[in-house]
């Protein structure tokens, strides 16, 4: 998709070549498109995009981690700033791809009708993917520009997490509007449910908040104030509600939990999530120049933020336990449970541990944040997307049996183990580095550059960085295994999955 300016003939040729290749891949992977509805066909496009971006995320994460150990590695070719930017951008995008895919996947089943505006949805997918390709190529090949608006429009906006140049921002908003149109029109045509209502309102918030990050401001206090409207309110509010929706639907699908129970739980989670998460935004407003009342508000509400995540764990474990852990998709169920605990520990416990202002004064801007970030994004979002990949692939292979006793089930089990051990290992390594940094750089060194470097050269910091690298490789191995498993699980399986009866 990189040769967008090529003439129409080459484009057609490329498209048909691409179609042939996809067909070959489909027959090799033994997937059957006739088992999917139109929304699900669109969803698997997003899922494939998500997995590719996931691979990019880990690859560039490894490069960035290596540079902590060997700073001269790729110096002035692919500097840390570039690798780290691709690492975090790929992460956000693969998660968004996953969420959009999940939504398209459940859309027709949930609404009881065919997807509305399918053509626009497909177009939106290709526009978004082409735009991302161009943006990444510019990140890698151009990297930086002069200190003017042209750079902000065409190359890079230089603000962590939302670096995408402004032209791409506008494109993303258009694609999100198409997505929103698909969702709302489909539900309006079919039937509305509690899940549909929460999903729709959440997508309004998700798309609307992105606009808050699209303006340039010289006043850095104002700029960071709005920047957090996008970052925090996405990650700690709208995304959490979105995974609540996905979790609710998944539990109904693979466990047969009654709709009434999941919907009630979903409302409870929304109340707790928004009730704590919206004003929990204040924990980012301690030190950026904003008034002191944010210390109280941010400290209080962010301490409440783990509560909805406890609700989520109770929800998932209770529902599966009630059915004796009997379900029709073992890998998906395992990842849903990993999600429930990962979300609680990574986002909840790890977040709470350093967001009280009295603690945050020392831990803010240290590896502490990286430790929390790794466990939270993995536990809260990577896990549930992976769970859904398994739900999708099972269906795509004709709803075959996918259980712990299937042939080659060691693959998904080891992928599950390695990914979780890898991320947990990185989290602990970065936590040690963060403690050390808070102590030596912040408490003793007074946060001067001298203090910073004293902490960065300390043996315990360097050891932690080596451990992080090692567990990064464990994670990468787990990902390799996961991709292999997704391509092959259930292939040649003739037993059908058990039918789960809804106890409505």
């Amino acid at each position: 998709m990189t040769n967008m300016s090529a003439n129409p003939e080459t484009v057609t040729e490329n498209t048909s070549a691409l179609k042939n290749k996809l067909q070959a891949l489909h027959s090799w992977a033994a997937v059957d498109d006739s088992t999917l509805n139109d929304g699900q066909k669109l969803a698997v496009k997003y899922f494939m995009g998500a997995v590719i971006l996931f691979i990019f995320q880990i690859l560039f994460g490894l490069l960035a981690a290596a540079q902590f150990i060997a700073p001269n590695f790729l110096y002035e070719i692919l500097d840390f700033s570039v690798n780290r930017m691709v690492h975090i951008n790929a992460m956000i995008l693969w998660m968004l791809y996953g969420f959009i895919g999940c939504t398209y996947w459940l859309l027709e089943d949930e609404s009881g009708t065919e997807i509305a505006g399918l053509k626009f949805g497909v177009l939106g997918f290709w526009v978004l993917s082409a735009a991302i390709t161009v943006v990444v190529l510019v990140y890698l090949l151009v990297q930086t520009g002069a200190g003017n608006d042209t750079t902000l429009w065409l190359i890079n906006e230089g603000r962590e997490y939302i670096e995408a140049p402004r032209w791409a921002d506008i494109g993303i908003v258009i694609v999100m509007l198409i997505f929103f149109y698909n969702v709302v029109m489909t539900f309006s045509k079919g039937k509305w449910s509690g899940i549909a209502g929460v999903l729709t309102l959440d997508l309004v918030a998700l798309a609307g908040l992105y606009l808050a990050g699209m303006f340039y401001m010289t006043n850095i206090t104002h700029e960071q104030f709005w920047w957090w409207w996008v970052i925090h309110l996405w990650v700690e509010a709208t995304w959490e509600v979105l995974v609540g929706v996905i979790m609710a639907w998944s539990l109904m699908t693979i466990l047969g939990v009654s709709r009434k129970i999941v919907t009630t739980w979903l409302y409870i989670e929304v109340a707790l999530m928004f009730g704590s998460g919206i004003l929990g935004l204040g924990h980012h407003y301690f030190w950026i120049g904003t008034p002191e009342y944010w210390l109280t508000i941010g400290g209080f509400f962010s301490a409440l933020e783990p509560i909805p995540l406890v609700a989520m764990v109770v929800h998932a474990v209770y529902d599966s336990g009630e059915r004796g852990f009997k379900n029709m998709n073992h890998p998906a169920m395992a990842w849903l449970i990993a999600h429930a605990f990962g979300n609680f520990f990574g986002a909840g416990v790890w977040g709470f541990m350093h967001t009280l202002p009295q603690i945050n004064l020392y831990t803010h801007g240290t590896q502490w944040s990286a430790s929390h970030g790794h466990l939270a994004f993995f536990g809260a979002y990577a896990t549930i997307n992976i769970a859904f990949f398994y739900i999708a692939i099972q269906h795509w292979r004709g709803n075959v049996w996918m259980g712990a006793d299937s042939p080659n089930s060691w693959r998904w089990k080891w992928a599950l183990a390695l990914l979780n051990i890898g991320v947990l290992g990185m989290t602990i390594a970065l936590l040690i580095a963060g403690y050390e940094q808070s102590f030596i750089e912040r408490a003793i060194g007074g946060s001067t550059w001298g203090g910073y470097f004293a902490a960065q050269t300390h043996p315990s910091f360097m050891t932690a960085m080596h451990w992080r690298m090692l567990f990064g490789w464990v994670t990468a191995t787990g990902l390799g295994l996961l991709v292999w498993d997704l391509l092959t699980i259930g292939k040649g399986e003739t037993r059908k999955a058990e039918v789960i009866t809804h106890s409505e």
Binding site: P71, S81, V82, L152, T218, I220, F274, I278, I288, G365
Partner: protein, 199 residues
């Protein structure tokens, strides 16, 4: 089957979810208006851009029990007095340069960003620039040719050459000087500034 009690019913929690969300968001909007008003450049918390004409220090305030920026008398930047507009222009160039060069994916600003390089919040006041007299020149030299002027303190980490022009480097220095004057509620704590030895 027993009746579901009201507190456990679906309609009850639906209402709670709507009211809690709307209420929280309303409070956030009100606080946002207040915060933006209190943090306008030129206010008490975020000084006007022309503060780059003044001496800025960062000291412990016993009464407030936290570190506070202290704005002193005249201390010109690049030997020149900037009008309010000129100062804003220069700081804007500096801010845009920090974004164009992707500084935030190695450094932290106001504690936010990546952790591969030091925090820039009070970088203007850092003792790493050796003396007050050498500071401006050191900063310009470093920004324009970071590799040759790097002091990596044994980490081996060097800032890459980012093709920063002299004008852009001056902008960045002005931006950093202005940023060091922001009242950050005592962050970072226990910071020793370049002026500490003069006192």
């Amino acid at each position: 089957m027993s009746e579901t009690p009201k507190w456990a019913s679906e309609p009850f929690w639906k209402k709670v979810a709507v009211w809690v969300t709307a209420g929280s968001f309303l409070i956030l909007v009100i606080l946002t208006f207040d915060t933006l008003e209190q943090t306008k450049a030129g206010g008490k918390r975020v000084p006007a851009y022309s503060v780059i004409n003044k001496k800025i220090d960062y000291q412990f305030d016993k009464k407030l029990n936290k570190f506070m920026p202290v704005i002193g008398g005249e201390e010109l930047l690049f030997g020149k007095i900037f009008t309010e507009e000129e100062a804003e222009q220069l700081v804007t160039l500096g801010k845009k340069t920090t974004q164009a060069k992707n500084c935030m994916n190695c450094h932290t600003l106001l504690g936010n960003g990546a952790y591969y390089a030091p925090d820039l919040t009070k970088a203007w006041l850092d003792q790493g620039w050796l003396t007050v007299d050498l500071r401006e020149e050191q900063m310009l030299k470093f920004l324009m040719d970071p590799e040759k002027n790097a002091r990596t303190f044994g980490t081996g980490r060097k800032m890459p050459n980012l093709d920063i022009t002299e004008e852009e480097a001056r902008g960045v220095v002005a931006f950093l000087k202005w940023m060091s004057s922001i009242d950050t509620n005592g962050f970072p704590y226990n910071f020793t500034t370049i002026y500490a030895e003069d006192d």
